[in-house]
């Protein structure tokens, strides 16, 4: 009753670890069998290796956390050679999150990953708040989001999901732009930009000063954006932002998500994904559903 089909993804269930919260799967594979997941989204991949931002990169907040990792990753060649090849042994759809400093970099990384034949879909990260050049600037203007998505679409056959930033005045406009450019799906939402100050030093806690806010604190914002975008596009939405349990999954799917990303909850309870998967069937029954597909967009029916 949990099976779903999304472009490029045959999902056993709608539970997908979100990008940046699950590395490339190795650490969690030591804790449980990754094959039980719906799919897996990797950490963001750029053309060359990136060392990321200085530390501290983590700051706790009320009901959430700020991070400013800054796209640390070993670069696309190493990711293909060491990470994606390793993930091949799992019967699990793999979504690779792609980031860059220019449209050309997004295209180049996407092409290399597509050529490897090791993955099922790409997630274009046009919403990372933690790097100076790139990331979020591609996701805050509809025209640029359109151009970037179209440029990758023209060169790559893999299904494309575009991960949008909530740090915009009109999310619908951006969602429509990437749909028009040929995106197969939308991931909603990336983190919200925030800051914490240390009362002793008077300075920001994060070395990068600002970071991305995640966790249950942002869930109502994510639900609202999924709800609105669902009404305005025809492509599926992977919903995310503060999901902590099966009830949160249902709420996102009611709003219009076809699947969900589990992010920072993995840090608090590393077994959260298998636990939610186990709880979902009973929760569906409790609310009178026989199949997960009945839940998608239920709030709009």
């Amino acid at each position: 009753m949990l099976k779903l089909k999304l472009p490029g993804l045959n999902l056993k269930n709608p539970i997908i670890p979100a990008s940046g919260c699950f590395g490339f799967g190795k650490e969690f594979s030591e804790l449980y069998d990754l094959n039980i997941l719906g799919a897996l989204t990797t950490k963001a991949v750029t053309k060359l290796e990136r060392n990321g931002n200085p530390t501290p990169r983590i700051a706790e907040t009320d009901r959430g956390m700020l991070n400013s990792i800054g796209l640390q990753n070993p670069g696309v060649d190493n990711v293909i050679k060491n990470e994606l090849s390793w993930l091949k042994k799992f019967k699990l759809p793999i979504i690779v999150n792609v980031a860059g400093s220019s449209i050309e970099e997004y295209v180049e990384v996407s092409k290399l990953i597509a050529k490897s034949n090791l993955v099922n879909a790409l997630e274009l990260n046009i919403s990372c708040p933690n790097v100076k050049d790139g990331g979020i600037i591609f996701g805050t203007e509809a025209k640029i989001a359109y151009n970037l998505t179209k440029a990758v679409r023209e060169k790559v056959d893999l299904p494309l999901y575009v991960k949008l930033s909530p740090n915009v005045s009109n999310i619908i406009e951006i969602a429509k732009a990437v749909e028009l450019a040929g995106a197969d799906g939308i991931s909603l939402i990336n983190t919200l930009i925030g800051m914490r100050l240390d009362l002793k030093t008077g300075k920001p806690v994060l070395a990068n000063k600002i970071g991305g806010l995640s966790g249950p604190a942002i869930k109502p914002i994510a639900i609202k954006m999924v709800y609105e975008v669902y009404q305005n596009v025809d492509i599926p939405i992977i919903g995310m932002g503060g999901i902590q349990n099966a009830a949160d999954v249902l709420e996102f799917m009611y709003a219009g998500a076809s699947a969900v990303g589990i992010g920072s909850a993995n840090f608090i309870n590393p077994y959260i994904c298998p636990e939610i998967i186990a709880e979902l069937p009973q929760l569906l029954k409790d609310y009178g559903f026989n199949d997960i597909k009945e839940v998608i967009g239920y709030a709009h029916k």
């Binding site: 940046g20 919260c21 699950f22 590395g23 190795k26 650490e27 969690f28 030591e30 804790l31 950490k43 290796e49 060392n51 990321g52 530390t55 501290p56 990169r57 983590i58 700051a59 706790e60 907040t61 009320d62 009901r63 959430g64 956390m65 991070n67 990792i69 640390q72 070993p74 966790g215 249950p216 920072s264 993995n266 840090f267 608090i268 590393p270």
Partner: protein, 247 residues
């Protein structure tokens, strides 16, 4: 795990003893546990394991009350249950054919060195220890370390033992050593690294963490060898070779 005891052993410094199967999984001194202190706090908090007793299924940690999390932790009572994930990370390696080592601990950083001292003692290694604290009120574990060898205490304000920092103490007392293990504030570790560039040693370093298992890249640190990728303190450490990491 179940709290066996939680007592203040120096000003704002507590020793927490926990019981559970997790204690039997510990492989090395220097590993840590990640504790979810309260539902009110979003993230877990990492703490170095200070002592292990596998036959009793017990482990102990030391912590200093510095913020909201440790304040709540200090209010916990024997018999309370607490959500602990671990053991995590790589600990201190034990080196063969070593007769004598120097342990250098600063403040609450003495914690992982104590279990290390116990293990070294079992291997008939002579364990000399230099511990540095802010003041007399913060001194912990002096007599515990004395079971395994000579102990020198330094306090910054001079209210107990040697007046000054641990390096000044080592130099003044002319303590010689070929292998050093250390844990403490970054400034102390950095000073040790600069002073003893050609001596073999291991340091346990601290960084803000989220996942504790190497997945989030939150607790990154840089290797001295620029051709290597960043280390993750939680997974590749928290113990590193003294001169392999930029502190």
């Amino acid at each position: 795990m179940i709290i066996i005891s939680n007592q203040e052993i120096a000003s704002d410094i507590y020793e927490l003893t926990l019981q559970g199967e997790l204690a039997c999984l510990i492989k090395e001194a220097g590993q840590f546990i990640n504790i979810l202190i309260s539902d009110k706090l979003f993230l877990r908090r990492p703490f170095s394991i200070c002592a292990v007793n596998k036959s009793q299924k017990q482990l102990a940690i030391l912590y200093q009350v510095v913020g909201e999390g440790t304040k709540i932790l200090a209010s916990k009572k024997a018999g309370d249950k607490i959500d602990v994930f671990g053991p995590l990370g790589k600990g201190f390696p034990l080196i063969d054919n070593v007769q004598e080592v120097l342990l250098v601990g600063g403040g609450i950083g003495v914690a992982p060195l104590y279990e290390l001292a116990k293990q070294l003692h079992k291997r008939n290694v002579k364990v000399n220890t230099v511990l540095g604290f802010a003041s007399k009120a913060k001194v912990v574990y002096e007599s515990e370390f004395q079971r395994y060898g000579e102990v020198y205490i330094a306090t910054i304000d001079g209210s107990y033992g040697f007046r000054g920092n641990v390096i000044e103490l080592i130099e003044t007392k002319k303590i010689s050593f070929k292998l050093i293990y250390s844990c403490g504030p970054k400034a102390m570790l950095k000073a040790l690294q600069e002073k003893y560039q050609h001596i073999k040693g291991y340091v346990s370093i601290e960084e803000r963490m989220a996942c504790g298992i190497g997945a989030c890249y939150g607790c990154s640190c840089k290797p001295k060898d620029m051709s290597l990728p960043n280390f993750r303190v939680c997974k590749d450490g928290p113990v590193f070779e003294l001169n392999e990491v930029i502190i």
